[in-house]
Symmetry: C2
Subunit: 436 residues, 2 copies
């Protein structure tokens, strides 16, 4: 009769309330307070807020939605030693947050977090700690903000075997590349993004792909049941993309996006975060502005697309409050076995190679020779008119080849005398789902 | 300490197994068996299959994935009186399925169903019955097949307040309208769809919107927390759309889709299933072939898009098996209060009015007069060249007006002598999310 027991639905305890503490009262924290105040969900009570400089925070406009009964504190022990049931962590980073959350979990508090680094780098051990203490650790806001890709995959795609995961996971890069698609140059757009608050003063985490790869690892755990070391995932910066690349991409019926991609190949996972050419007909080309998008390609279900606002206070607060509801109602997620997997940055894909040369006879032949030497076939050669011969940008695309093969050829091509810039090599994304 | 109890995660009973019966072994049923055989999920055991003509089914190619231990039966009581833990219903319709599932729920069996009619028309009372018996009733496959819009909304958007729900919920209509967009006419495409098995011999449930409105009601319950009577939702057939409408839609930077739409307005819900003009820039225009798509517009999270394969054996089986995993692991969904709501078919929206006339002076003035009489403003007048004067199709678009206002004017316009066909009136979808 053990089987009978298993399917009994846990009764919700009517009338009981979970006490909630917020760690961090910035943009997302104040939006969480606002969403909670607007909807007055039964069973959820905001009781504590932890932040530095409480005096200033309490008098900020965002604090208007905070009930008068809430205890504000600058001492984390006021939270950890309290009777709070759920700690909502919106501070980010590993230190000191990890230690605090370990203490919270160990003392029987559930945790809702938007912290991608924490889940990507420490998820495995934190999930174990939560399970050992019979509490929840949920992180729907850690990837793609208000887009419910994590709960959607956990509860709705568990029955499939995902082959591939492609995502636009960094809104800042998407904003920059969208603006460049419209004709602006990188430096101008980056400066605008910084002024709008979309990009940090040091934009490296976004434009060099480190933010996106943490998110890719979180999604790989769910979709591919693979535990990856984020530091082992290859990244390529978007900062070397130039306006001319959008011109050539358009010639190829493509645009350029920062794509986070992970693919199963036997026991290994191929993963990479890089600017890629994506066909205009692909869902990946649909995402505008700071939107995020995830395409999961399943063996049985084909391509499933999730998209929406990947960042911003209110969309992220939706994910946080939805997780909070799940914890308050004791709704756990489907769990499937996850394994540690090796990562390689190798993909078998067509490539886009852009050169800027001081034109003279023999260049194409030299490039073609270098590609032939590694066994890569040229698919097309593009040269739009109107460029000066002494600074000529042109493009070669290849038939599907391994990343390392192309990189080997590019190393020798880069050494040619006529090259005025480091040649650019971009993977061309091929849609998985050909069933349309 | 009641609050403490509430957040304790229910421990999964390691090693226990839920016994599963399939009701119905058609396309979806055999795909479910195939997906289960391919993935061998721990804790799930297929033990019974109920179908008519078991002899034939057992020897069908789809039965190859069925374990030899499975009991095949033509007698539903073999299932209802068994020790099966979960009944997976893939037969459809209300009768006799509803009675069987009530018995199953009442006897402590959980139910996984793909039956949209059952959930749309009987959901409220069935959910109560399931709760009273502490068992699960899950229905992720009832809407949009393999697209996890139901679990995604339940677990990931509970924290938002949805204002509007727009969907492409019928793959058959989407296939027909996509083909017509490419230049084919309705009758030809319908015949093709019937031959491909996308459309029934009597295509009414699809093309007249009855299938989609059941799905819209299921989604409204989750997103808008509104219990609607499906029969009260206005529908409009796609069968009056002609090739010329795609030509004019293109002039307006739009295409035509069967849209299922529900919108909150105070205590009432505005809902309608109808062919509508959708801007090419809108996610609704992205869906190709038999794809399904749902756009949920939230107060805090903005537009969230889900899309993918809405039908077919394998995508639907993914939804069924994902639900089965949730039941096997005793994962329940977030529940928020739902209320019965009145439905109206009224929308404040711009409209597309297409006329086919025997051209003579005064027609435009008569149409303009009829619209002015009800207070509707003309936004544009379109007439592409090359049509014979004695059978001239042309289009008027209006500024946002109430559906009933436009319908009133159309009634009087239809009576004009020059009208060769019943004029066509389509709502023009205006995107909710203007934040891009």
């Amino acid at each position: 009769m053990a089987t009978k027991k298993k399917q009994v639905v846990k009764k919700k305890q009517v009338g009981s309330t979970v006490k909630v503490a917020l760690l961090g009262f910035g943009t997302v924290g104040s939006s969480v307070a606002q969403v909670l105040a607007a909807s007055k969900f039964p069973g959820i009570e905001l009781t504590h807020i932890f932040n530095r400089d409480v005096q200033r925070k309490r008098s900020s406009p965002g604090a208007k939605a905070v009930p008068a009964s809430v205890v504000w504190t600058e001492d984390i022990n006021d939270i950890l030693n309290s009777k709070v049931d759920v700690v909502v962590e919106l501070m980010g980073g590993l230190n000191p947050v990890e230690g605090w959350l370990r203490k919270a979990l160990a003392s029987g508090k559930s945790v809702v977090t938007a912290n991608k680094q924490l889940i990507a780098y420490r998820g495995a051990s934190l999930f174990k700690l939560a399970a050992a203490n019979n509490v929840h650790l949920v992180y729907g806001a850690a990837v793609a903000g208000g887009v419910p890709v994590i709960p959607g995959m956990l509860q709705g795609l568990g029955g499939d075997q995902a082959r591939r995961l492609s995502g636009i996971l960094n809104g800042t890069c998407n904003y920059i590349l969208n603006r460049m698609e419209g004709g602006a140059d990188y430096a101008t757009v980056l400066a605008d993004a910084q002024q709008l608050g979309y990009a940090e003063a040091d934009p490296s985490a976004d434009v060099d792909g480190f933010d996106a790869r943490a998110k890719l690892c979180i999604l790989s755990r769910i979709a591919l049941h693979a535990e990856l070391n984020p530091d082992a995932v290859t990244t390529q910066t978007i900062s070397t993309i130039e306006a001319i690349d959008f011109t050539y991409a358009k010639e190829l019926n493509c645009t350029i996006r920062q794509v986070s991609q992970a693919e199963r190949n036997g026991k290994a996972i191929h993963a990479r975060v890089a600017p890629m050419l994506v066909p205009l007909s692909s869902p990946m080309a649909w995402s505008h502005g700071t939107q995020n998008m995830v395409v999961v390609s399943g063996r049985f279900g084909g391509d499933v697309v999730f998209s929406g606002h990947g960042a911003g206070g209110e969309p992220t607060a939706v994910a946080v409050v939805s997780d909070l509801l799940a914890v308050a109602q004791n709704c756990s997620s489907v769990q499937l076995p996850v394994r540690k997997r090796e990562v390689t940055g190798e993909f078998m894909a067509p490539h886009y190679l852009r050169f800027v040369v001081d034109d003279k006879p023999g260049i194409v032949s030299a490039i073609a020779g270098a590609l032939a030497k590694v066994g890569a076939n040229i698919d097309s050669l593009l040269q739009t008119p109107g460029h000066p011969k002494h600074r000529l940008p042109f493009v070669v695309t290849t038939e599907p080849s391994l990343t390392s093969t192309i990189e080997k050829a590019m190393k020798s091509i880069a050494k040619l005398d006529c090259m005025l810039e480091k040649p650019l090599c971009l993977q061309i994304l091929v849609p998985e789902d050909k069933s349309e």
